[in-house]
């Protein structure tokens, strides 16, 4: 047999090559046992022929974790994705969503050609057009706005756009074009968490050092199923639990997979985590179990020069009423439980306090994150091995685009309504459509969205549809997309993007080891059909409008960046990265205690550096673009616009430290538990408890609606993946058995869920895995577009060549909860308070 000859030949080669696979694990053990010391990965073979599949290193893009990975190509087709064995972040692992990325590439409902609307917007009638026709039209429209002096009337709204994608599209292209009307998606994710961090320790992103921790206290993170650094941290957490006996306490409304693997799941009522955290802080302070040394870097009172004892006394006083008994009444968590976990946390060193959307996607969610920061700080678990650390990622050098960029203009529609939100540092973009409808801050003439679905991702789905459909509100809509989703259906022009498996990027996501990792994404196959990476398209669009970005493609940009980044260049530059996909400095030491670094005296003497007595901050008024030295001194650091941009260091007890460098707000270099910025906006200066207003008015039969993610779906954009949707294609409402009994509801019953803005009909699932008084419905599902696997509906011009179509086993597609969730923001951060919705649940 021909096949056998091939196998034998391969086998000969196999021995030599198998011994030096990527993991470097040596092969060979007892010959008598006839066994194999297997290598974990790096190679794959065809099950049919035994032939080795071609390996290409790249990076995932299913979620923001962006694991480096490898893929295998057979006969020009990508057939398998695995983790990158040489990555210090992922250590050879990816998740189900990552592995199912192949479905994104070969989704038969993919958009492969530029499409122009014919008929009414949203009517579903389309015409295939050429790229030239599409870009001629788009460039003319964009150029007209720019020439008229209104580049800000071009709004660009992205969901996922990171690293080189962001640098090419946002910094280079949109920067050179001149619009700053740029929306993101952070308010529907974890904006409150970031604002809470910016108000306490400056920059956003907390890495959880699970490799070195002994205990984890978790408020509302489901990091074993979904997280911004999912695979890097989840594998370390479960290994810590099993191999080192790390205790994990998870406070959550729902028995998530993370709660399931915890030492204990501690059920908590939605929106009340902060009460528990404050009570834990009180227990620890009262027991004298705080880390006194760290208080040197804490600002706990208005007067920064207060002694440590005075800071401790002030904090104790502030926490005085937040007793565990008080917290029990609010949260449902027994006081004894709060006490015991608090004391265990204080006595276990190091320990890691973690948090996510479950804790922060609420009214005053940013204050919850501040309280969680406080709990980590008083126990000495900030930026330490095993604690809650500031994120460390790769620092690429890259081409910045044209030098002569215009001063960009912006419509003020990305930060919510005026006066509603104190510090929308990551925007309130779930309110963009509402603000466009309102019109007081202006309206874009061209609204383009990229890896985003404003209709589906925000609350108030019907309003989103109505606004996006209305040509009088938005004259021209453009969607860059590979898939025909609910928002694409409302575009005037669709530009077919490839899947991420067909494009170039460099990547920089945070490393769980505090050592930066450099990695790239490269195409496994050429873009299908006529799809074109939008990063390449903007290079052409710029040229069509008469300017150049200084590079002609994403590949060229990545190549230039590899050569510009000294460490990567020294490792072998672009060629090395194409071959290996990933690089880190083997001699690098993990970055901890960055705040303790002293600032050099000469840096304090640099031109423009002044000292702010009130805050103790050294800052450079020139770098902050203040009017003059005199004006900067008169207004002071805290009240000068963007003063944080000039931050140099923090004076503490006669020394100047790097401190907790501010970002986005004029925080001092202290770890601020007392925030003047909060006080200035009449918000609690020290983290405090504010009940969710709508929860105060609940009737006896009202429930709170929460949503969640499952391990096999990505946000709004994986229901088209057949292997994932085969596993999860329904999302019944989870109701605790006690609540269900009271309401007369059984598993499988059709139920109506009614909020102040609308009603959905779904199915009930009675469970012991959710707290009473709640209905919990996962998002991801309930699509009415996105192709046949997601909704049963074929996309325009889609093919029929997937043999799995006739084998599809499901005809339920779930129900989207966002129809009935209002787009209310957290008044501190702008975070969509998506987990606060009060509903009535009745049998349908």
């Amino acid at each position: 047999m021909k096949q056998e000859i091939n196998r034998r030949d391969l086998f000969k080669l196999g021995i030599a090559s198998a011994a030096v696979l990527a993991t470097g694990k040596a092969i060979g053990s007892s010959a008598l046992a006839g066994t194999v010391d297997f290598v974990e990965g790096g190679k794959d073979f065809s099950p049919e022929t035994g032939a080795e599949r071609q390996m290409i290193p790249s990076a995932c893009w299913s979620c923001v974790t962006r694991d480096s990975m490898i893929g295998f190509v057979e006969d020009g087709r990508l057939v398998k994705l695995e983790g990158q064995p040489n990555s210090i972040r992922g250590k050879g692992k990816i998740c189900a969503k990552g592995a199912a990325g192949i479905n994104q590439l070969y989704d038969p409902d993919r958009i492969l050609y530029p499409m122009k609307r014919v008929g009414k917007r949203g009517e579903g009638k389309w015409k295939r057009i050429s790229w030239d026709a599409a870009l001629t039209d788009l460039a003319a429209r964009l150029k007209k706005l720019r020439d008229e002096g209104h580049p800000e009337k071009f709004m660009f709204h992205y969901g996922r756009m990171k690293a080189s994608s962001s640098k090419i599209i946002k910094s280079a292209f949109l920067g050179a074009y001149g619009t700053k009307t740029i929306g993101n998606h952070t308010s529907i994710c974890e904006g409150a968490k970031w604002t809470g961090q910016e108000l306490t320790w400056g920059k956003h992103y907390d890495n959880w050092d699970f490799d070195n921790t002994k205990m984890v206290v978790n408020f509302g993170s489901n990091c074993l199923e979904a997280h911004t650094n999912s695979i890097p941290v989840s594998q370390r957490l479960i290994s810590g639990i099993v191999d080192r006996g790390v205790k994990l306490y998870t406070f959550d409304v729902r028995l998530s997979n993370t709660a399931a693997k915890s030492t204990e799941w501690v059920p908590v009522k939605p929106g009340t985590d902060r009460a528990v955290v404050l009570a834990m802080c009180k227990v620890i302070m009262d027991a004298g179990l705080y880390d006194k040394d760290f208080f040197k870097f804490i600002k706990a009172t208005k007067n920064r020069k207060e002694s440590t004892d005075a800071k401790i006394a002030a904090l104790k006083k502030h926490l005085d009423t937040f007793t565990p008994e008080w917290a029990e009444k609010i949260s449902g968590v027994p006081a004894a439980k709060i006490k015991s976990i608090a004391l265990e946390l204080a006595k276990t060193k190091p320990a890691c306090v973690i948090s996510y959307r479950g804790a922060v996607a609420h009214h005053h969610g940013a204050d919850t994150e501040r309280a969680i920061q406080m709990l980590a700080a008083i126990t000495g678990n900030i930026d330490n091995p095993g604690g809650r650390c500031r994120g460390v990622g790769a620092k690429w050098k890259y081409p910045k685009g044209p030098k002569d960029k215009p001063k960009a203009k912006a419509l003020k529609i990305t930060n919510g309504f005026k006066g509603d939100i104190a510090y929308p540092t990551h925007g309130a973009n779930h309110q963009v459509l509402k603000m466009i409808k309102d019109g007081k801050a202006g309206r874009p003439e061209i609204y383009m969205w990229y890896c985003y679905t404003p209709v589906y991702s925000h609350g108030e789905t019907q309003e989103n549809i109505d606004i996006l459909k209305d040509e009088s509100l938005i004259p021209f809509t453009v969607n860059v997309n590979a898939y025909y989703d609910e928002s694409a259906a409302l575009a005037d022009l669709i530009l077919p993007n490839p899947s991420y498996l067909e494009w170039w990027d460099w990547e920089d996501m945070v490393s769980p080891t505090q050592i930066p990792e450099y990695y790239i994404r490269q195409p496994f196959v050429k873009p299908l059909g006529e799809s074109r990476d939008f990063k390449d398209v903007v290079c052409e669009l710029a040229q069509r409008m008469g300017f150049s970005l200084g590079f002609n493609s994403a590949e060229e940009f990545v190549k230039m960046s590899c050569e510009m980044t000294p460490d990567v260049k020294a490792a072998g530059g672009f060629e090395y990265m194409k071959k290996h996909g990933v690089w880190h400095d083997p001699n690098a030491k993990p970055k901890y205690y960055m705040y303790k670094k002293e600032v050099k005296t000469e840096d304090l003497k640099k031109d423009g550096v002044i000292f702010d007595e009130a805050t103790g901050v050294y800052w450079n008024w020139k770098k902050a673009h203040a009017e003059s030295e005199a004006a900067a001194k008169e207004k002071g650091y805290t009240k000068t616009k963007n003063a944080y941009k000039g931050y140099v260091g923090q004076e503490i007890e006669g020394k100047v430290y790097a401190g907790f460098k501010p970002d986005k707000v004029n925080k001092s270099g202290y770890f601020e538990l007392y925030s003047e910025l909060m006080e200035m906006k009449n918000l609690p200066a020290i983290p405090s408890f504010t009940p969710v207003p709508v929860h105060e008015k609940m009737g006896p039969d009202d429930l709170i609606l929460t949503s969640y993610k499952v391990s096999v779906h990505i946000h709004s954009r994986s229901a088209n993946c057949k292997w994932l949707t085969e596993i999860c294609h329904d999302n019944p409402g989870l109701i605790n058995s006690k609540t269900a009994k009271r309401l007369g509801i059984k598993t499988g019953d059709k139920i109506k869920v009614t909020s102040e803005i609308g009603e959905i009909t779904t199915t009930a699932k009675v469970t012991e895995g959710v707290v009473p008084g709640v209905i919990s419905i996962s998002h991801h599902l309930g699509h009415w577009q996105y192709g046949r696997y997601a909704s049963g509906k074929k996309s325009p011009f889609a093919g029929d060549n997937d043999p799995d179509f006739k084998l599809k086993t499901w005809n339920t597609y779930g129900v989207h909860p966002n129809w009935i969730i209002a787009n209310k923001p957290d008044p501190i951060s702008g975070q969509w308070a998506m987990l606060d919705t009060v509903v009535k649940v009745t049998k349908a």
Partner: protein
């Protein structure tokens, strides 16, 4: 039909001085089917339930490795919420073919026993040290290293092996025409990624598992991870507690490290764990 690889492959192996790739088997028709001798690897699969986070990476990696059609799973994860709030727990149970040894009397697992196309051709398994172990091929057959394999060329698509498997580990592959009856489908089932282990690479599900909950290796090799885990947890010795449906007397080679009693709790819950139900991964 047989594969003819024996001599040269063995020579290659010996020449390289590596016992490395003995999983790649030599198949030559001789003699009567016999059970594995000590020299052959004794493959075992261990799932450490403490480490399973219910993420389904295994399910998807398997789907991709073999392009498994919709409606069929070679690997799956079951989950169940048990207990009463707030003392409830959520359990995970990955499922795959147990590659059963078969009962003590005949050492033939039920799927092989029921296969009308077994025993067929005479084959030979050559161990690393050159010993030949004879066995019989079939549409479904047991190799001396314990793998339960499927050969579509011999399959009539009768489905008896599917019915015979108490674990539901077999499914029709609706995109595969059976070798001997073009009106029927062949089957799909876990083969421990025979094509990968033959080349010294772990099975696809083991490779991907983020929790490192899955182990594959040789129980005849005392240095292997599976042997160490077997020793630590007494997996073989306590097989009534560490394998699925012990009452079926199929003697699985897939073991579970089960600190929460998940096997019995999930069997008791019976929601999706009835005997013979095809394994299915649906949340």
């Amino acid at each position: 039909m047989q594969e003819q690889l024996s001599i040269s492959r063995r020579q290659v192996l010996k020449g390289a001085g590596a016992a490395a790739l003995t999983g790649a088997v030599t198949l030559m028709p001789t003699g009567k089917a016999i059970a594995a001798r000590g020299e052959a690897p004794r493959w075992a699969f261990i799932v450490d339930l403490r480490r399973c986070i219910g993420c389904r990476a295994c399910t998807i990696a398997c789907k991709a490795e073999f392009n498994v059609p919709l409606g069929a799973f070679r690997a799956a994860v079951y989950e169940e919420v048990t207990g009463t709030f707030p003392n409830s727990e959520k359990l995970f149970l990955p499922r795959l073919c147990n590659h059963c040894e078969g009962n003590k009397d005949d050492k033939v697992p039920p799927c092989v026993k029921e296969c009308p196309e077994y025993p067929k051709d005479r084959r030979e398994f050559v161990t690393a040290d050159g010993k030949k172990i004879r066995y019989r091929g079939g549409a479904t057959y047991k190799r001396p290293d314990g793998l339960i394999l499927f050969d579509n060329k011999l399959c009539t698509g009768c489905g008896k092996c599917i019915e015979a498997c108490p674990y539901g580990a077999r499914n029709f592959n609706k995109l595969l025409i059976s070798g001997k009856d073009s009106t029927k489908n062949g089957i799909t089932k876990c083969n421990f990624c025979e094509h990968r282990i033959a080349k010294g690479v772990t099975p696809s599900c083991v490779n991907i598992c983020p929790g490192r909950a899955r182990f594959f290796g040789d129980l005849n090799d005392p240095a292997s991870e599976v042997s160490k885990l077997n020793k630590q947890f007494g997996l073989v010795e306590k097989r009534n507690e560490t394998t699925l449906l012990p009452g079926e007397n199929t003697v699985p080679t897939c073991f579970y490290i089960d600190s929460q009693g998940a096997l019995s709790k999930m069997a008791a819950a019976k929601q999706k764990f009835e005997k013979n139900d095809a394994i299915l991964d649906v949340i």
